[in-house]
Amino acid sequence: MISLLVLLPLIGAAIALIAEILRLRTLDAVATVASLFTATAVALRVTVSAVTAGVAVAVGGWIPPVGIELRLDGLTSIGVLVVFIIALLIYWYARAEGSYGPHFSFVFLTAVAGMIGLMLSTDLFNMFVFFEILSLSAYLLIAYKRKPRAVYAGFRYLVIGTVGMSLYLLGVFVLYRETGVLSIHAIADAGAGEAPSPEMLIATAAIIAGIGTRVAFFPFHIWLPEAHGEAPHPVSALLSGLMIKAGFLTLFRIVNAVPAVPITMLFEILGPVTAVAGVMLALVQTDMKRLLAFHSVSQMGYILTGFAALGSVGAGVAVAGSLFHMVNHALFKSLLFLTIGIVISQTGKRRITDLAGLGLRMPLVAACFVVGAASISGVPLFNGYVSKTMLSAGTKEFALYPLLTITSIGTVASFIKLSTVFRGRSRTAPGIERVARRMYPPIVTIAAGCVAIGLFPGQTAALFSRLTNISTIQTIDFFGGQAMVDTAIVLAVGFMLYRVVTHPVLSRLVAAARRARLGIEPSVVAVLYGFAGVAMVFMLMAR
C-alpha cells in the first residue's frame, strides 16, 4: 500500500512523458492531478494506522538487509500529505501561468516521487538513491526555462550537490565497514551504549556534510540563493517550500539514530549562525526572489536549532516546534514565492526598488503576500508564530539564543522592505494587465491554511504533537502577556532596523557586499572545509 505513494507519482510521470511524445497538451495535466489526488487519498487512508503503530513494507517481498524497506510513521505521513497537497497547488499555479508543458509535468512528478521516497526510506543507501532522483529533477527544473543564468545556477548546484553526495557515500562506506549494516535502525542498535569510534565520527561528519548540501545550512548553503532565486517561480516554491524539508526529515532520522555522536552540540552552534547569516544577507538583497531565497536559509537555521534540543530536558516542545515549523515554512514560503512570482510575471521587473504601489492593482495578491509575510515574521494569528513560539520556549536556555531574536528582528525588517512593492503610490507604467482569475485559487488556499493554523495555535500544536507522538511537557500560553510584549518589541525594533537599512549611505555600502559572489571552485572548497570543520567539532566534543 505505501509503495503506491512513490509509485503513483512515477506512473503519472510516465503518462506525462507519453503525452510529451504524442504532443497531447492536456493529458499530462490530467495525469498529474489524478496521480497526486489518488496518492493523497492513499496517504490519508494509511495515516491512522501509521500514527498508531507505523507501517512498514519490504519492497518486492525482499526483507532487509537485502531488500528495501519503506516505513511510514506519524511524522512522515504528515510530511507526505503536505508534499502532495502543496505540490498539487504549485502545479495548478504552473498550469495557470501557461508556459509549462508535459515535459515540466514529467520532471515535477519525478521530483515529488523523489521527495516521498526519501521520506519513506529507512536505509542510508536508499536515501542516497532518492536524494539523487530528487536532485537530478531539481537541476532540470531550475534550468527548465533555459535562461542562461538559471542554467549556470543549475550547473553550479549540480557540481556542489554531487560533491556533497560523494561525501555522503564516503560516510556510508565507512559506516558500512564499521557496522556491516545500512538500515538506520540497525545502526542505532549497533552503536547503542558505546562511545563512538573516530571512524564513526568521521562517517557521521561526512553524512551530515552531504545532507548539508541538500538542506542548505551554513556553510553548505552557498548554492541555494542563486539556484532558488533564478529558478522559474513554481519551481522556487517547490524547492524552497518542500524539497529542503524532505532532506530535513532524513537528517532528523539520522540524528536520532546516532545519539552518541555529538550532533546536537554542533547544531546548537550552526542553527543560530545559519539563521542570523541568512537573514543579514537577505536584508541587503534588492532582487525580490533572492531575498526570499536567503530567508529560506535563515528559516532552516530555526529548524536546525530545534533539532539541537534533541535529548535534553525541554526537548519535546523544541523538537515538535521545529518539525511543525517545517510544515508552516512549507506553507508560507511557497505562498511568498508564488505571490512574488505573480508580481514578477505581471510587471517583468525583479528589483524591489523598481516597483511600488501594486497593492491597488492586485489587491488579492497583496493580501496573500501580507499573510505570508506576517507568517514568516511571526505575527500572532498567523502560522509562523505558533511554531516559532514553541521553538523559543524549548531553546531559551541555549547560549546562542539571542541570535534567534536578532533573526526575528531582521525578518520583520526585510519583509517591511519587500512590502514596499505593494505600498505607496504607483510608480509603474499603467500598462499592467489584470491578474488572471485562475491564478488565485492556489495562493488563496495556501493563505487560508496559514491563517487557519494561526487562529487555533493551541489546538493545531496539540494535534501535531499527537500525530507525531512527541510529548510536550510544557504547555504554552500562545496569547499570554509576556509573549505579546516580546512580539511587539521584535516588530518595533524590526521596523527601526528597516529604516536604518534603507538609509542611502548604508545601502551603497551593502551594494558592494552584494556583488561579491562565489563561483564554483570557492563553493566546493567551502563544502570541503565545512566537512573538515564538522569532523573536527565531533572529534573535540566526543572526548
Binding site: F125, V129, R146, V151, F155
Partner: protein, 115 residues
C-alpha cells in the same frame, strides 16, 4: 596499497574540480570522483572472499554481494549525473559561446550590472 591508489584517484578528481576552469573538464572530474568511490566500495566487498557471489554448492568463499548491488546503482546514478551535466554544459556553451567558467561568470555579472 590499493586503498592508497583509490585515495589518489579520489584526490585527482577533486583537483580537477578545483583547478580546471573548463565545464567539460569539471564534468570529467565529477565522473572520476564517482569512479573512485565505486572502486572503494568494491574493494571493501572483495575483502570478504575471492569468488564471484553466484551461489552454488560448495562455493562459500564469495565476495560481499551487497556492495556490488549498491555500486551497480551508484554507477547508474553517476551516468545520469554526467549526462545531465553535459547537457547543461552544452546549453551554456550555446548561450555564452564558451565553456570557460570564469568567462561565463564574468558575462553573468556584466549582464547584471547593465540591468
Amino acid at each position: 596499497m590499493d586503498r592508497l591508489l583509490v585515495g589518489i584517484v579520489f584526490l585527482v578528481g577533486f583537483a580537477g574540480l578545483l583547478f580546471q576552469r573548463d565545464l567539460i573538464k569539471k564534468v570529467i572530474a565529477l565522473s572520476i570522483i564517482n569512479s573512485a568511490l565505486v572502486t572503494l566500495f568494491i574493494l571493501l566487498g572483495s575483502r570478504a572472499g575471492s569468488e564471484a557471489p553466484i551461489l552454488r554448492e560448495g562455493r562459500l568463499d564469495i565476495v560481499d554481494p551487497l556492495v556490488q548491488a549498491l555500486m551497480l546503482t551508484a554507477i547508474v546514478v553517476g551516468i545520469c549525473i554526467t549526462a545531465l551535466a553535459l547537457v547543461l554544459s552544452y546549453a551554456l556553451y550555446r548561450s555564452y559561446g564558451t565553456t570557460d567558467t570564469r568567462e561565463i561568470e564574468r558575462l553573468i555579472s556584466e549582464q547584471e550590472e547593465q540591468q
